[in-house]
């Protein structure tokens, strides 16, 4: 992990805030994601994870702060920055009335994928989707639709990959396969990943680093394998529950 930290970050978030009137959804968070690094963004529902991802995705304007993707400022050069990004989320399935291939073709054009046919074949192969090539996405199972969303997310070889609970609706065996596929794809590229999940086993398995988000603030950061012990907890799940319920006890009161 140290080697990856030495590189230029592919995602740089600085002083990011999002307020809705008096509600502070995200309150001045700063972090980086380096190439080939998978960073877990953890927190309770409503902690600000999806708000953060929406802002990095350019579909939600921050109240303050900056987002730099592969050296490109998102606010100033939205299109150039988003060309280096992609995402998959359980709440944003691809249109069910198009086939897998049609969806990939449309998003291949939107992301400017040059060697589209070869690239589409490769991502379909990686995610075991070739047999569904001409099947409408709407008739696929949840797990298969998740894999199509991931195929779209990998299509343009993004420098920043945003995954919002990518395995939320799928069985453990498929989830494991998907984790391995993403991990392998990331290791073979210069992609950095921001990954949200409520599955602490998954986070421990795939993430190089985690950020605990509470009420819009990052209150804890570290290696998911060593972090629990640092705070006297057996597992990451125990630590998560402690962070959620008793942050003061852990000496990580909100700033």
């Amino acid at each position: 992990m140290d080697a990856t930290r030495d590189r230029q970050p592919v995602l740089n978030v600085a002083g990011l805030r999002k307020h809705y009137g008096t509600i502070q959804a995200v309150n001045g968070i700063s972090f980086e994601v380096c190439p080939r690094e998978i960073v877990g963004l953890l927190g309770l529902n409503g902690a600000g994870k999806t708000t953060t991802i929406s802002m990095i995705l350019g579909v939600l304007e921050p109240t303050a702060g900056s987002i730099t993707i592969a050296g490109v400022d998102l606010a100033r050069h939205r299109s150039r920055a988003l060309a280096q990004t992609n995402f998959a989320a359980v709440y944003a399935p691809l249109p069910g009335n198009l086939t897998v291939w049609e969806n990939l073709r449309v998003f291949g054009l939107l992301y400017g994928v040059k060697d589209f046919k070869a690239r589409a074949e490769k991502v379909m192969d990686q995610l075991d989707l070739k047999k569904f090539r001409d099947t409408k996405c709407g008739v696929l199972s949840s797990g298969e639709q998740t894999r199509v969303g991931l195929a779209k997310a990998l299509l343009n070889r993004p420098r920043v990959l945003l995954l919002d609970e990518p395995t939320a609706s799928i069985d453990p065996a498929s989830a494991k396969d998907i984790r391995q596929t993403i991990r392998a794809a990331v290791r073979q590229s210069d992609t950095g990943v921001l990954w949200t999940s409520h599955n602490m086993y998954e986070v421990e398995e795939v993430c190089d680093r985690v950020l605990f988000l509470s009420r819009g603030e990052i209150i804890l950061e570290g290696d998911p394998k060593t972090l629990p012990a640092q705070y006297g907890r057996q597992t990451l799940e125990e630590l998560f529950i402690s962070v959620a319920r008793e942050p003061l006890e852990l000496g990580m009161e909100e700033r």
Partner: protein
């Protein structure tokens, strides 16, 4: 502006139409029904009035032109609704696609679908009731151009309403042509209207087209300066509609409406 990104929108529409009877049939069905209904109405009026007035090019032609403009508007709105219906905003607007590219893509989609509608209407009205564009001479080109541009402006304005008010506002969009038609003097001369309504008509580019069309049919000349006004008005409406849509889009990105569109959290 990248044409390849813009092309993604009409390509998506092509895929949808290719695989859906429910989308293909309305492209032909409604315009055919309109032509048949108004074709017989024209025949009937011609029979009972016993005048030299040329009802086919004046009335059936007006219906055809108005339907064409409606198809242009619906071509834009329907392509946009596909993203609404499939909750696809995050996927589409999280890409490098720019606003001019997105709107451009919707317009290209509309050109294709409205052109199909126009061909079908011409075929039915021509074969069934003897309507021919030759009745309007070369003026048919500016007539269609003005209606095409105004249809685009209506389409862009309509999707701005839906983006601002949420998916349920789709029902505000469908009646727009019907609401405008009395003021656009589609079926009768402008002089039929009371003076205060005529002021509204003068703001609507189609009113110049339909007035000009009736003049051509009656053997009078067309005031090309007025058609120029209609063209300029149409372009101004397109620009205004585009500015409104981009403003609504920026508001949606700022307030979180885009990220949570289906919640209809409009304030």
């Amino acid at each position: 502006m990248k044409l390849s990104r813009m092309a993604a929108i009409p390509l998506r529409q092509f895929y949808l139409y290719r695989g859906s009877v429910a989308r293909l049939v309305p492209m032909f069905a409604w315009v055919t029904i309109d032509m048949v209904l108004w074709g017989f109405m024209t025949k009937f009026l011609g029979g009972v009035t016993q005048t030299q007035y040329r009802f086919v090019p004046a009335l059936l032609g007006a219906v055809l032109f108005w339907d064409f403009m409606t198809r242009v508007m619906q071509g834009v709105t329907t392509a946009f609704f596909e993203d609404v219906w499939t909750r696809n905003f995050l996927n589409v607007f999280g890409t490098p696609l720019t606003m001019p590219e997105y709107i451009g893509g919707l317009l290209v989609s509309s050109m294709a679908t409205s052109a199909v509608g126009l061909v079908v209407m011409l075929a039915v009205a021509g074969l069934g009731f003897g309507l021919s564009f030759a009745a309007y001479g070369v003026m048919v080109i500016p007539f269609l151009l003005v209606l095409f541009l105004f249809g685009m402006a209506l389409g862009i304005g309509a999707i701005a309403i839906v983006l601002r008010l949420g998916p349920a506002a789709e029902w505000f969009v469908w009646p727009i042509p019907a609401l405008l038609s009395p003021f656009a003097a589609v079926y009768y001369p402008l002089s039929t209207l009371p003076p205060w309504i005529r002021w509204i008509s003068h703001l609507l580019p189609p009113s110049y087209v339909f007035e000009g069309m009736r003049n051509v049919v009656a053997g009078h000349g067309v005031n090309t300066a007025l058609l120029g006004v209609a063209l300029a008005l149409s372009l101004a409406y397109i620009l205004a509609a585009y500015l409104v849509f981009t403003s609504v889009f920026r508001h949606a990105v700022k307030t979180g409406l885009l990220a949570r569109y289906s919640a209809e959290s409009v304030s």
